[in-house]
Amino acid sequence: MIKAILVFNNHGKPRLIKFFQYYSEETQQNIIRETFQLVSKRDDSVCNFLEGGSLIGGSDFKLIYRHYATLYFVFCVDSSESELGILDLIQVFVETLDKCFENVCELDLIFHVDKVQYILSEIVMGGMVLETNMNEIVTQIEAQNKLEKQEVSIN
């Protein structure tokens, strides 16, 4: 089960946050700050798995993160998920974003938050992995876009 998905940049500014367990606004910001502190301290040569921080605090969960250029993608998962599997899932997510936005960069995430959230919701639903095939995801998203466009032009 996935507890949270966080994307923030090298300075700790959140670019995408999705919690599958309810936390208040203030707690969310604290978690983001703390996770950033934990993750930014890590060298590139060490492993991508982290334990610690109040989001996890002694429980079964761990943080699995990947660093791409200016962005950190962090998934907080429990022991039912395979660590390497999640790493590859992050890769799939980023590749999908790349396909949808063409050479995705941080700006795309900033200006199209809702789109990115939508793509994410096609990959992970309710804390469980929904789809891992990039092509399927993209097909679904393009279908949605087409329908929406049709609606707008009809109106």
Binding site: M1, S82, D114, M125, E131
Partner: protein, 802 residues
């Protein structure tokens, strides 16, 4: 008319965007993707402005202005949905940055309810990100979700199913269940898949649903689309983990599925970096692991397929490694054959020796799992790597290695492992990790320590360095060990702890422990005189210490003091030389102690000290028979049994009691007091009457027939004798005797061990309530006594009530 103008205006930015392209990216694909959304320039410019702001304070000012603006605009009537959408998007963005806009939630819900696909999507998105099922607006949304579930538009159904996982509470599940179940038969695989996961989320909220959903899920498992099947497995995983016995019949199905996948029977679209359906394989192997645990027959069925997985080629890419890692995990969990184990060990060796730090981490993790199955000698092969990992800069790797060390601890390597763990403990600052390591160290010490002396030393060392992290159970274990230990052990302990007391800056737990040991077993101490010890104890006493620590020290001091018998009063000089007010709350203790030493004769003092080890608690209070007889003669009425009122003693007591009673030593539980584990023992003490069956002894006429009087009516001269025998005494008038008796209250004990003395305090209070005749004068006197007890108990719980 106005609607048309509005929509034209709304469409304008889109047209403009299409002409000019977005932010430099002019390829057709990108712009068409982006411009399918009639995003108002408003939102884009809003984000741009934020992005351009340099500092947090500027951002604060800007956003607060924007939020106020949004609030005002949303409160207007008749704004177009497109505009609302734009504002809601801004709300989502602001919330991500940490500013909450609760007034906008209702608008998000409105958007989701009516309107176009786009509005619905944004509305749902905002709702999901802003609040959860406990919010009041969630119910409104449920309505919308139900409507959307029944819509003909596939996209709406999908959106509704996704929203189900967020907003459906356990109560609403029955409402939604039929609709969602129906979706399992939908023509589109995507809808079926989402329906399965939605049902999975319902199951999490209401486990009782499983009986109902079992056939449904089974049917879905056989779905022709593998993705639906994968979703079912995702739902099954936590269920199988909890209770594998229910799912044993799945074993052949799952094995078949693994074989199919490995044989590339799945279409090529399932391939990811030349591995066919890796995530599906991982999930399957995980479930098989749970099913095969401790089950030889199920495990045997899996051998061939596991072998196949292990021999998979192309282990270059990380996802193939993931599958191999998962299969090693499975092998470690089930009952494996020797061949499988060999294969697994080879893989583990590869992982551990790999240059990739992720692989090394996983290697150590699997090593920890597999070490239970194979001989310890196997881990010796990896010793060098292990030690390297221990000193690695990567904290995660260090943690994992510590786990492994904990698993392989035995009496031979205990020393080294403890040392390493101590080093890690002192180098980390994460409180959870510290507690974890400290608990582990205590566990392995308890299990494997060569001698008891070693154990005492090890735990004391731990307490010295990191006392906050050491679990309470470890400290209690020490108390028990010492109480049950033989003379030699006690002598050793008291020597060590006296040495320890000479150090400065001892943490509280250790100070309490040392004081207790010294006081308790002082008689076994050979190389320090009583004077040395008492000076040492007094030096440690300081008003800044916690009250329970101070009390412990004074307790120990008193024990040593009283053992000196006739010379006791020489020591009071020490007390008087302490500066005034350096004791705070225990000032009274000191005072009473001085008085005690002054007043009591040597015989009395040594009687206090004698502390008979094994007595029956006399609930009939037979030594008070004379008193009762006299009172009855004078016309007092007999006692009317009332339900005991729990005495709420102050926090000071509580701490003392938990220290004293948190581990009831040994097998000597006298049939009187029930043994409790900690904390709440307080109330049980005072409700003694409730737990102990006491039969009434006295009636109106005098002694009830059938009740035996243990002692005949005694004369005053027998009082001395009774004191000698350590029985309780409760006589009012005489100052000496009053003091001695009140002190006795704290000292006579019936349960084994001196630290249980304090109990009798309470037991008197309870017993008194039960037995003495409630004559008005008698009662008032009693009440006075107990009130004064109460008051003094606030200051001086041990002895000397005044």
């Amino acid at each position: 008319m106005s609607a048309m103008i509005q929509s034209t205006i709304a469409a304008l930015p889109e047209l403009l965007q299409q002409r000019l392209g977005m932010g430099g990216g002019s390829s057709n694909k990108k712009s068409s993707f982006l411009s399918t959304v009639a995003h108002d320039n408003n939102f884009q410019s809003f984000v741009q402005t934020i992005h351009a702001l340099k500092s947090k304070s500027e951002e604060d000012i800007f956003l607060n202005k924007v939020i106020a603006g949004i609030k005002q605009q949303l409160s207007q009537l008749g704004i177009s949905p497109a505009y609302v959408r734009d504002l809601v998007l801004k709300q989502v963005y602001c919330e991500m940055l940490g500013y909450s806009l609760p007034f906008a939630y209702i608008h998000a819900v409105n958007l989701a309810q009516k309107g176009s696909l786009l509005n619905k999507r944004i509305g749902y998105l905002a709702a999901v990100l802003s609040f959860n099922e406990d919010h009041e607006l969630a119910l409104l949304l449920i309505n919308t979700i139900q409507r959307d579930l029944n819509s003909t538009n596939v996209l709406e159904v999908c959106m509704a199913l996704s929203a189900c996982t967020h907003f459906v509470t356990a109560d609403i599940v029955p409402l939604m269940l039929p609709t969602v179940e129906e979706k399992l038969k939908h023509s589109k695989a995507l809808v079926r898949k989402k329906a399965v996961l939605a049902l999975g989320s319902f199951l999490k909220k209401r486990l009782s649903l499983w009986n109902h959903l079992k056939p449904v899920m089974k049917f879905a498992l056989a779905d022709k689309d593998p993705r639906v099947m994968e979703a079912v497995l995702t739902v099954y995983y936590p269920l199988v983990k909890n209770d594998p016995t229910q799912f044993k019949e799945l074993v052949p199905t799952l094995i078949y599925l693994v074989e199919q996948t490995l044989d590339s029977r799945l279409p090529t679209s399932y391939e990811y970096h030349s591995t066919s359906a890796p995530w599906l394989l991982i999930r399957l192997l995980g479930i098989l692991g749970f099913l095969g645990k401790d089950d030889k027959s199920a495990s045997q069925q899996m051998y061939s397929v596991l072998e196949k997985v292990m021999l998979m080629s192309a282990v270059n890419h990380s996802v193939a490694c993931a599958v191999v890692y998962e299969s090693v995990r499975t092998i470690a969990t089930i009952v494996p054959s020797q061949d499988l184990l060999n294969l697994a060990m080879k893989s583990v060796a590869n992982f551990v020796r790999s240059k990739n730090s992720n692989h090394r981490y996983l290697g150590i993790k699997t090593l920890t799992l597999i070490v239970e199955q194979v001989k310890l000698s196997y881990t010796m092969d990896h010793q060098t790597v292990l030690f390297e990992c221990l000193d690695h800069c990567d904290e995660s790797l260090r943690r994992m290695t510590l786990q492994l060390l904990y698993k392989i601890a035995n009496p031979h390597n205990l020393n080294v492992i403890c040392q390493k763990m101590n080093e890690c403990l002192s180098s980390t600052s994460d409180p959870y990790l510290r507690t974890d390591i400290a608990t582990k160290i205590c566990a392995i010490i308890k299990q494997h320590s060569p001698t008891k002396e070693w154990l005492i030393n090890a735990i004391s060392y731990l307490l010295l360095k990191n006392s906050e992290d050491v679990p309470v159970t470890a400290v209690d274990f020490l108390y028990d060990l010492l109480s049950d230990g033989d003379e030699r052990l006690k002598a050793f302990a008291v020597k060590e702890y006296t040495k320890l007391l000479e150090k400065t800056d001892l943490p509280d737990k250790l100070l309490k422990l040392s004081a207790w040991v010294v006081g308790e077993y002082f008689s076994l101490l050979t190389d320090h005189s009583a004077f040395d010890v008492t000076t040492l104890l007094l030096k440690k006493l300081h008003s800044t210490l916690a009250v329970d620590v101070q009390l412990c020290i004074i307790d120990a001091y008193a024990k040593v003091l009283l053992m000196q018998g006739a010379n006791a009063h020489k020591y009071t000089v020490q007390l008087t030389t302490m500066p005034n007010g350096s004791f705070g709350i225990i000032d009274k203790e000191i005072e009473h102690l001085q008085r005690l030493v002054k007043c009591c004769s040597e015989k009395q003092l040594s009687a206090i000290e004698k502390r008979p080890q094994m007595c029956e608690m006399d609930f009939t209070l037979s030594f008070l028979d004379k008193y009762v007889a006299d009172a009855l003669q004078q016309g007092a009425s007999t006692y009317r049994q009332q339900s005991p009122v729990p005495v709420s003693l102050p926090a000071v007591y509580e701490r003392l009691y938990s220290f004293a009673t948190s581990s009831q030593g040994g097998s000597q539980k006298s049939d009187s007091l029930p043994s409790q584990k900690s904390g709440s023992s307080l109330r049980s003490r005072s409700c003694l009457g409730a737990t102990v069956k006491v039969t009434p002894v006295w009636g109106k006429e005098g002694l009830l027939p059938g009740s035996s009087v243990v002692h005949s009516v005694t004369a005053a001269s027998d009082l001395e004798e009774e004191i000698q025998q350590g029985k309780m005494l409760f006589v009012g008038e005489n100052e000496h005797q009053k003091l001695a008796s009140e002190l006795f209250a704290g000292w006579t004990t019936t349960v084994q061990g001196s630290r249980k003395q304090q109990l009798t305090e309470n037991s008197i209070q309870a017993a008194v309530g039960l037995h003495l005749p409630s004559n008005s004068s008698v009662e008032s006197r009693l009440n006075q006594a107990s009130v004064s007890d109460d008051q003094t108990s606030r200051d001086s719980p041990f002895w000397a009530m005044e």
